[in-house]
């Protein structure tokens, strides 16, 4: 696996205050990575260090296979937080100038500018002065300038900063097209919803380091908790369910599984189906990234690979990647079994016998 960004043992203090401490981050090529953290946690500082704008006190930063010093980086696009840019020139002029600063000339420069204006949906507004641009248009212009030199890596600083929900929704497809172009992206943001919508993997920055890391696919694989609402719960069934483990809680007419795993969920459903307990509904309480983010920041989250397949402890990149892939495959297999059970459950008519588990598993 090729790493687009490899940061290790990074330390940086600003005005005597430590901001980044033992910061480590690995972003594989062609991945969209979201670095999530509160204001002034050092997210932008990480980007500025990668760009060579800020020198680290200590640590190693490798970008696209090259050690970062104070030199400029080619093939790296940077979208700064919402900026007024240069208000008295037009968007097209701005891109032409920036393209020229990147060494582009003549017809190639013109074509590249036209292409990027099209790509960010600014083609109709390219000849308007920048001071007339809305916040959304400024963000689009920021993306266009970053794409000019055909980057392999894009660094996005608060790409939705200052945008309302409608504007963010309009910008998201433009950003998602970066993924389809195979461009590695590192986005820093305070918005878990954005990270969940745009990124493949998310790291949460707390206390100057990546305190937890999740794959978005893992988040979507299995819910953290599930509540099954029942028409009745005989004491015998309640006792059987309790033997499945402390994660299964029985309360009156509902059973809650927390932490939820596909295997445990399947066991509980089998028990209920075999006992012909009427199931009224099943609420998958998929905990959004936002809640995990809150818990990590309040030091209320301890990643455990065994109990939480979404958490991928920080390891060496190759191990982390393969471990995450294994966890994802296992979770998918288990989830598929769970889905089959649910399908059976839904198709089952009252009074009909439950299917044979053996044939069910083949479905």
């Amino acid at each position: 696996m090729t790493l687009a960004i490899d940061i290790d043992q990074l330390k940086k203090s600003v005005a005597g205050m430590p901001v980044l401490q033992e910061f480590a981050l690995q972003v594989p090529a062609h991945l969209s990575y979201g670095l999530l953290g509160p204001a002034r946690s050092g997210k932008s500082l990480v980007l500025q260090i990668i760009l060579g704008l800020v020198r680290p006190d200590r640590g190693m930063v490798t970008v696209l296979g090259h050690r970062v010093t104070h030199r400029r980086l080619e093939h790296v696009g940077y979208v700064p937080p919402r900026q007024p840019y240069h208000p008295h020139i037009t968007g097209r002029e701005y891109l032409l100038e920036l393209g020229a600063f990147s060494g582009l000339r003549g017809a190639l420069l013109q074509r590249r500018v036209d292409d990027q204006l099209d790509a960010v949906e600014l083609a109709d507004d390219g000849d308007a002065p920048i001071f007339m641009y809305s916040r959304l248009m400024l963000q689009r212009l920021g993306l266009a300038q970053a794409l000019l030199n055909d980057p392999e890596l894009m660094l996005l600083d608060e790409p939705f900063g200052g945008l309302n929900a409608d504007e963010a929704a309009q910008l998201l497809p433009t950003l998602q097209r970066l993924r389809s172009r195979g461009i590695t992206t590192l986005a820093v943001t305070r918005a878990p919803a954005f990270a969940e919508a745009f990124c493949d993997r998310v790291g949460i920055l707390a206390d100057g380091r990546v305190a937890a890391e999740f794959t978005i696919a893992g988040l979507h694989d299995v819910g953290q908790s599930v509540t099954i609402h029942l028409g009745g719960l005989p004491p015998a069934v309640r006792g059987t369910l309790r033997t499945l483990g402390p994660a299964v809680r029985c309360e009156d007419l509902r059973v809650t599984i927390e932490p939820n795993t596909a295997e445990l969920q399947a066991e509980v459903l089998r028990t209920l189906l075999d006992a012909r307990v009427p199931i009224l509904s099943l609420d998958g309480q998929r905990r959004p990234l936002e809640e995990l983010y809150r818990r990590v920041l309040s030091h209320d989250y301890v990643p455990s690979r065994r109990s939480d397949p979404r958490a991928t402890p920080i390891e060496t990149p190759v191990e982390a990647r393969s471990a995450a892939a294994r966890a994802r495959r296992a979770a998918l297999r288990a989830a598929n079994r769970g889905e089959t059970l649910l399908r059976d459950l839904i198709q089952r008519t009252p009074g009909s016998p439950p299917d044979d588990p053996a044939t069910r598993d083949q479905g």
Partner: protein, 252 residues
């Protein structure tokens, strides 16, 4: 693309933005006002013209320099720094833009004077003799402003440089009775500091005097050289400091 071409292009870019922002109207208006108020109808000789023009050019450099440095001190300017232009090209480009605006203003003042209020007895040679040290002082002040830019020197160093400049100019404030009223040790320390801090500014003072007198006898021809050396040195320190400075900024 060659670094020189990149910084030339950046200078052009900065000037284009400066012109379109309309700020240049202030300099142009001030130039015309200066001509109307201090030159036209006063029948100035060459000394009088250069005395006025030198002061005007320095004030114009102070204003233009502060404004253009302000233009450069914006996070989106750093989008250029991370491109092949680099930090050196960025700072030298801003510096060149300051110089060009002030030189154009000075040229306009000279043109207005030549057309509407010719200075008696001053030919092209005399004009050049006064203009060279005058413009070198503009270059020197612009280099000092570049050095004092917030993104170049950290605050503590900027204060230290400003304090040294203030000390060098303090002879009128801390002279005579004021100085004598201080303890002897303090007087000695102040005079030593003033001598040390004033030394780097000597070419500037001498340049102003040379511009007004246009007397190139003796060692006077060395004055423009000293001005040029000091300007280059100051600019080199500014570039060195800028290349080592952290350019951190927050999201708005």
């Amino acid at each position: 693309m060659q670094p020189a071409a990149l910084f030339t292009q950046f200078t052009r870019f900065t000037l284009m933005e400066y012109l379109r922002s309309g700020r240049v109207l202030i300099e142009l208006s001030a130039t015309v006002a200066m001509f109307l108020a201090a030159i036209r109808g006063r029948a100035l000789d060459a000394e009088g013209f250069f005395a006025n023009a030198a002061l005007f050019s320095l004030v114009a450099a102070l204003y233009t320099g502060s404004t253009i440095i302000g233009l450069g001190d914006r996070p989106h300017g750093y989008l250029l720094v991370i491109r092949p232009l680099g930090r050196t090209g960025y700072l030298v480009g801003l510096y060149s833009a300051i110089l060009i605006v002030v030189v154009v203003c000075y040229a306009l003042l000279c043109l207005l004077t030549a057309i509407a209020a010719p200075v008696e007895g001053m030919g092209v040679r005399g004009w050049l003799a006064g203009s060279v040290p005058l413009l070198l002082n503009v270059a020197l002040l612009s280099a000092l402003l570049s050095l004092l830019a917030p993104f170049v020197l950290p605050p503590a160093w900027r204060l230290a440089v400003l304090a040294l400049v203030a000390l060098a100019f303090s002879s009128s404030l801390l002279g005579g009775a004021t100085l004598q009223s201080l303890p002897t040790a303090a007087v000695l320390v102040l005079e030593a500091l003033r001598t040390v801090s004033g030394a780097p500014l000597m070419p500037a003072f001498a340049g102003y005097a040379l511009s007004v007198s246009r007397d190139y006898s003796g060692v006077a021809p060395l004055i423009p050289l000293a001005q040029l050396t000091l300007t280059t040195g100051m600019l080199a320190i500014a570039v060195y400091s800028f290349n080592r400075r952290d350019l951190a900024f927050d999201a708005p």
